[in-house]
Amino acid sequence: MSVLDRWVNRAADHPPPGPFRAGFWRSPLRGPWFTAILSVALLPGITLMFLTGLASYAAYNPNLAPGNDTTPDKGLLGSWLPGWPAGPFWLYWVNQGVHVTLGLVLIPVVLAKLWSVLPKLFEWPPARSVTQLVERASLLLLVGGAVFELVTGVMNIQYYYAWPFGFYQAHYYGAWVFIAAFVVHVAFRLRTMVGALRGRSLRAELRTPVSQTTAEEPDPDHLVSADPAPATISRRGALGMVAAGSLTLVGLSVGQTIGGVTRSTALLAPRGQTIGLGSQELKPDFQVNKTAAEAGIDPVGASWRLELNGAANTSLSRPQLLAMPQHTARLPIACVEGWSTGLQTWTGVRLADLATKVGAAPDSSLFVESLQRGGGFGSATLSADQVTAADALLALQVNGADLTIDHGFPARVVVPALPGVHNTKWVTRMTFLPARG
């Protein structure tokens, strides 16, 4: 027996008091089956969270122009991402709705899962081998990453920026740290999960009342209590409580994504309120991201002209834009935060027609600048696919009325499947940039 082994054994015989002792953890519900059944929800759920998150990042077209990239030092963590398509129109709407709503759904499941494995945090001795010590360091990244991603996501959709970092960087790089730990965790534990699920029948568990609920058989990981107390809730009851928590969270927020008449059901979601910005023209009005007051926009008078640069340069007044062929498209504005405006009817000049007007090549990208003073997303670059999309507009009107100042008067960009903030409001200048080479 080596010195290390002797030390480990001696430490194992003398755990500190409280949670470090086996007798402290007495719930009869903890055990490999209970942990595994929660993992059945988390494994596909977290995978989908990562993929929709990555898609959301790609939707900003970060590799098209430096200004589009919120994480310019990403290197291998996204320089390979393809461009984002200009449709179908619901693509970003659904992607972001799933990302944010699913994130809310998973919160009770993650909390239950952490509850189920918490005795492991206080395992004594902390590690019995080098491999175990390294694995525990990896678990810090797993648990820290999961909670960090949920906390930053939930705070961001409520505009609670209490942290010292930028949201996009933290949430994106945090997701990579987490997923690195998640993949090895799944690889190490998948067999344990499958074995535990085979050990008990879900159907039988769902029929077992509190009075007949007993602890699982002792397991090598010591999740099962060494001294289980009588059950006060069945496994069915505990899982039902987690499911009820998830369903309540979804039920009281999904309306902000779907919009329309369902919006008022999103009682606790940030964009569940109907909006009344005092506009007489738009009834009913719809959600905005960033008010004109916040963006430092003064009322724009008749002197406004759109500066248009391509092979030729010109500028157009609003009446001149209105005199051009008008196109109407029904599109939603969908925000990274998961809410949307629902479908609105936008009318304006096709971006493709503006490109033709200044003789821009059909493979040109488009740099759009706003009158907005300060703050994020005052400009955006659109890809050639987005410029040439049939429903890509410089909108002048919405739902049959002139844009209100909060919706971007005198003119705003609206492009299918584009993240909300890239649909630039209060446009002042558009520059078509021919593809290089």
């Binding site: 945090l121 409520q158 090895v184 190490f188 006060t232 009851g237 009820a244 309540t248």
Partner: protein
């Protein structure tokens, strides 16, 4: 070291390489501040949130074990009729606390043009409804068990 342990160590090493590559970028702006949020969120869960809810629950369970007479209404145990609405209400508060407690009022109004004023009364109303549904269910169960 067994072969299996060797493979595991290698997989962990690969994971740390990816996590390190992302971690350097995560911490680039403010190492201490960002690191504190990353580690802190797990620590706050493990050492504050968990002891808080588990402690309250354990105290309640212990009380009812000492006073078995208090634990039932017409023969029906009411503990879970309290737990379920309390857990869901607490969960809603936990998730939506910035809006409910109005700590991000200014930024919320600037972004949306909306006021966060309705969220506290709405959360309170949802909580009342949750407890009411639970109470009615308990009452029905109690009446059923009272029948011969």
């Amino acid at each position: 070291m067994t072969r299996r342990e060797g493979v595991q160590l290698l997989a962990l090493l690969a994971s740390f390489v990816v996590a390190g590559y992302a971690g350097v970028r995560l911490l680039a702006g403010d190492v201490i501040g960002t690191g504190a949020w990353f580690v802190g969120s797990a620590v706050v869960h493990d050492l504050v949130l968990f002891p808080l809810y588990a402690g309250i629950d354990a105290a309640l369970v212990m009380l009812l074990r000492r006073r078995p007479g208090w634990a039932t209404v017409a023969g029906v145990r009411w503990l879970n009729y309290l737990r379920v609405p309390a857990v869901i209400s607490g969960l809603l508060l936990l998730v939506w606390s910035p809006l409910i407690l109005r700590v991000s009022d200014g930024a919320y109004h600037a972004a949306s043009g909306l006021s966060a004023q309705p969220f506290l009364p709405r959360w309170f109303a949802v909580t009342v409804i949750l407890f009411a549904i639970s109470a009615v269910t308990l009452l029905v169960r109690a009446l059923q068990s009272a029948e011969p």
